[in-house]
């Protein structure tokens, strides 16, 4: 090594700084991993209660996982199914409907477009559960006429999710669509394509990745939603996994902790896998949608 003197002092400095850097990072690594470790450990712990004094696992077993699928009072499989149905339905439908509206806002000239956009912007910052009392009373009266879409039904809940996420979705998708070159549409039009054809044949395939990301965000959002689901779905069999697991931990934490840990791991794994495999797109979407305005 033929390092000059100045270079070696520089290196020394960096390594001092990097000691602090590494220390700081490790604090956060431990902070991040701590709850994850605790959950995994207690999900395999057959003691029932959370291991108290030792952090070394004491006996591994699948007892907690089995309990989730063999207890009629805890239809965990059913809850997962409900969550996935609701989340997928919301993701798919909202992308189709939102994509169409975003396409119109991005590519068409019509009266009221500007006002519409501004209204959209305001609407998307109002989370729909701010009006939760109103939604509750409203869907209660819908129930008297159509039990299928009123309070206590997954159909009604889906409609509210769709309405609630529409503002954000249209806004995000519009941001993406604006980045698709206009020349493509124009070329297609010159070749004689109608607006609807441009939408389905040009725009939809091109925007597929961003549509997928929006759908994914809608999916995660629905999966994480608690308040409306807990208010709407009173029947045990109708619960989403979020509401179900909450009810689980609410009552007697001491006995339920093990199965709860197992349940929360099972419920998280699909989402973590989806997220990590698509993180590049999701992260791009996060910053882009917000900064491009």
């Amino acid at each position: 090594m033929s390092a000059t003197k100045s270079e070696s002092t520089k290196r020394l400095k960096i390594s001092k700084g990097s000691i602090f850097s590494h220390a700081f990072i490790w604090v956060f690594i431990l902070f991040t991993l701590f709850p994850i470790y605790v959950v995994i450990e207690s999900s395999f712990n057959n003691g029932g209660a959370l291991s108290t004094n030792s952090f070394v696992p004491s006996g591994w077993s699948w007892v907690n996982y089995k309990a989730l699928f063999h207890d009629a009072a805890v239809p965990f499989g059913r809850w997962m199914f409900n969550s996935f149905v609701l989340a997928s339905a919301n993701a798919v439908i909202s992308v189709f409907i939102g994509g169409a509206a975003a396409f119109a806002f991005s590519r068409m000239k019509f009266r009221g477009r500007k006002i519409g956009l501004q209204a959209l912007l305001l609407v998307q910052v109002f989370p729909s559960f701010l009006a939760i009392a109103a939604i509750y009373v409203m869907m209660g009266s819908v129930y008297t006429v159509f039990p299928k879409i009123g309070i206590g039904s997954m159909g009604g809940l889906l409609l509210i999710y769709l309405g609630g996420s529409m503002g954000v979705n249209i806004w995000l998708l519009r941001g993406y669509i604006n980045t698709i070159p206009m020349e493509l549409d124009e070329a297609a039009r010159i070749d004689g394509a109608s607006t609807v054809q441009v939408y389905w044949l040009i725009f939809f395939p091109l925007a597929a990745p961003v549509l997928a990301v929006t759908a994914l965000l809608a999916f995660i959002g629905t999966f994480n939603e608690f308040i409306l689901a807990s208010l709407f779905l009173t029947n045990v069999d109708q619960r989403t996994v979020a509401v179900g697991l909450e009810s689980f931990i609410g009552a007697a934490l001491g006995q339920n902790w093990g199965p709860f840990a197992a349940g929360s791991i099972l419920a998280s794994i699909p989402l973590v896998i989806i997220f990590l495999s698509l993180q590049r797109f999701i992260i791009g979407g996060l910053t882009q949608g917000a900064t491009k305005g």
Binding site: A133, L159, G163, N224
Partner: protein, 495 residues
């Protein structure tokens, strides 16, 4: 389309059958709108916009408008229904034994398929025959009398056996027999006796007043959803009804000490929490991003571990953290061998909320900070280093200001999000600890949105009007903040 039309027609008929006006109207409008949009060739943009707009109008705009209107009503437990309903309920429930405590000897049975009673006043020896629809006096000789003069038989009257009486006890105990001359109702008390009850209130439809029959006190409509004593307005009769009360719900937030106290303390915590938590998450995220922006060993490993909290569904994480802070079995107490009830002390609970939210949120801030750092043009740093700036100076004076500028809309959005971070507070602490002994209705970690929820859906005393008023306050704060942020972003863009 034809299928959709068919469904809507069916739905309309169903709504029409139930006579629910607003729902009929909504379906009719939808029907007309959708058919116009998709069968006419005129407006292509509308074909694309309509489904999204319909959903937004129905499930955001309508609830918002409804919230606005509810906030102007006295709409709470005890004031839920219509005025007619309230008057009927007052008249029915306000029954008290009459002044003389009149008791009747009674024979109960069936006649013409209806529950029928034969009543005899043992003092006056006057007998009656009655059903739920009314009673008529009987002259001596019309009925079969027992030795003491009580009516025990009448043509067509078949007395109940003890078994029948037992089986029908629910219906019988609910039986009210209006006595002649409006003196009150006879209600069966045992198998062989009934008591006379008089109405406590009588309603004068023309003057819209209730009068206490026994002491003559007069109650007037207080224009706030209740009848109140004419001489003392604080004495009101329940149930009341849902009544327009103007800005009363809003004013209560400021002039009613029992409401103002919790509202103001919740408001302060909401703002403080949102501010501090965003600051903490942003500081941690930015620092991590700055460190990991350089070449550093294990960078990829660090990165993938650090974004884990963002990948895990936040709801699960919150519940897990809740379990870990638990007193007896919680991992935190287990780790230190202590028995601290973290969620029982106001400041510890607030600390827990901040720590958990830091865990949930710092990966997001790390990701956006890293993205923003990458977005700073390399030429700027190069130019600065040519001018002799040291790496720290480049970071401090060139990169950070730019990063802050890029991220400020996201910081404001995050502030708005945490302002309404219902899941975190509701699932982690439930808003508590709440000092119930001191008569507090709000907890130390309650933010406005959880407080609204508690106000609207509190099992024993729900107050939809007040909850809607608080919701409106949140609308204004968040809406104003967003508008300001957008204006600001537009200004930046135009420059």
């Amino acid at each position: 389309m034809a299928l959709l039309d068919a469904i809507m027609v069916t739905m309309f008929v169903a709504a029409y059958n139930k006579k629910s006006g607003p729902i009929e109207a909504v379906i009719a409008i939808l029907f007309a709108l959708l058919n116009y949009v998709y069968f006419s060739k005129r407006s292509i943009p509308l074909k694309f916009l309509t489904p999204g707009l319909v959903l937004m109008v129905l499930f955001i705009l309508v609830p918002v408008i409804y919230t606005v209107s509810m906030s102007f009503f006295n709409y709470q437990t005890g004031n839920l229904g219509s005025k007619d309903g309230a008057v009927t309920a007052i008249l029915q429930t306000g029954l008290t034994p009459d002044a003389k405590n009149t008791q009747y000897d009674m024979a109960i049975g069936t006649r013409n398929g209806k529950i029928t009673v034969l009543l005899t006043d043992p003092n006056t020896k006057q007998s009656f025959i009655g059903t739920a629809s009314g009673a008529t006096p009987l002259a001596i000789g019309q009925f079969k009398a027992a030795a003491n003069g009580d009516a025990i038989g009448y043509p067509g009257f078949v007395p109940y056996t003890a078994d029948q009486f037992g089986n029908l006890s629910d219906q019988i105990s609910a039986l009210q027999i209006p006595m002649p001359n409006h003196i009150g109702f006879a209600e069966p008390q045992t198998e062989s006796s009934a008591s006379l009850f008089t109405q406590q209130y009588s309603y004068d439809k023309q003057r819209d007043t209730l009068t206490n029959v026994q002491n003559g006190a007069i109650y007037l409509d207080n224009h706030n959803g209740n009848f109140a004593l004419a001489t003392d307005k604080t004495k009101v009769i329940y149930p009341g009804w849902r009544a327009y009360n103007g800005f009363a719900n809003y004013l209560h937030l400021f002039d009613d000490a029992t409401i103002r106290g919790p509202f103001i303390s919740v408001f302060i915590w909401t703002v403080g929490f949102s501010f501090v938590t965003v600051l903490m998450m942003f500081a941690a995220g930015l620092l991590l991003a700055v460190i990991l922006d350089r070449k550093i060993a294990l960078k990829r490993f660090y990165r993938s571990v650090l974004i884990l909290p963002y990948a895990i569904p936040s709801l699960m994480s919150i519940l897990v953290w809740k379990g870990m802070f638990q007193t007896q079995f919680g991992a935190i107490n287990g780790l230190f061998g202590t028995h601290i009830d973290f969620l029982d002390s106001a400041w510890m609970a607030r600390g827990v909320v901040l720590i958990v939210n830091l865990w949930l949120g710092f990966p997001y801030f790390y990701l956006i900070s890293a993205g923003a750092l990458q977005a700073v043009p390399a030429e700027l740093s190069e130019a600065a280093s040519i001018d002799g700036a040291r790496p720290y100076q480049i970071l401090r004076q060139i990169k950070l200001p730019l990063v802050l500028q890029i991220l400020s809309p996201l910081l404001i959005a995050s502030f708005a999000f945490n302002f309404n971070n219902f899941n975190l507070i509701y699932l982690l602490t439930g808003g508590g600890p709440t000092n119930v002994l001191a008569g507090k209705s709000s907890g130390a970690t309650d933010i406005l949105i959880t407080y609204t929820y508690k106000t609207a859906f509190n099992g024993t005393s729900s107050n939809f009007g007040l909850a809607s008023a608080i919701s409106m306050m949140i609308f204004f704060i968040i809406g104003g903040l967003s508008l300001w942020s957008i204006r600001r972003a537009n200004v930046l863009e135009n420059n």
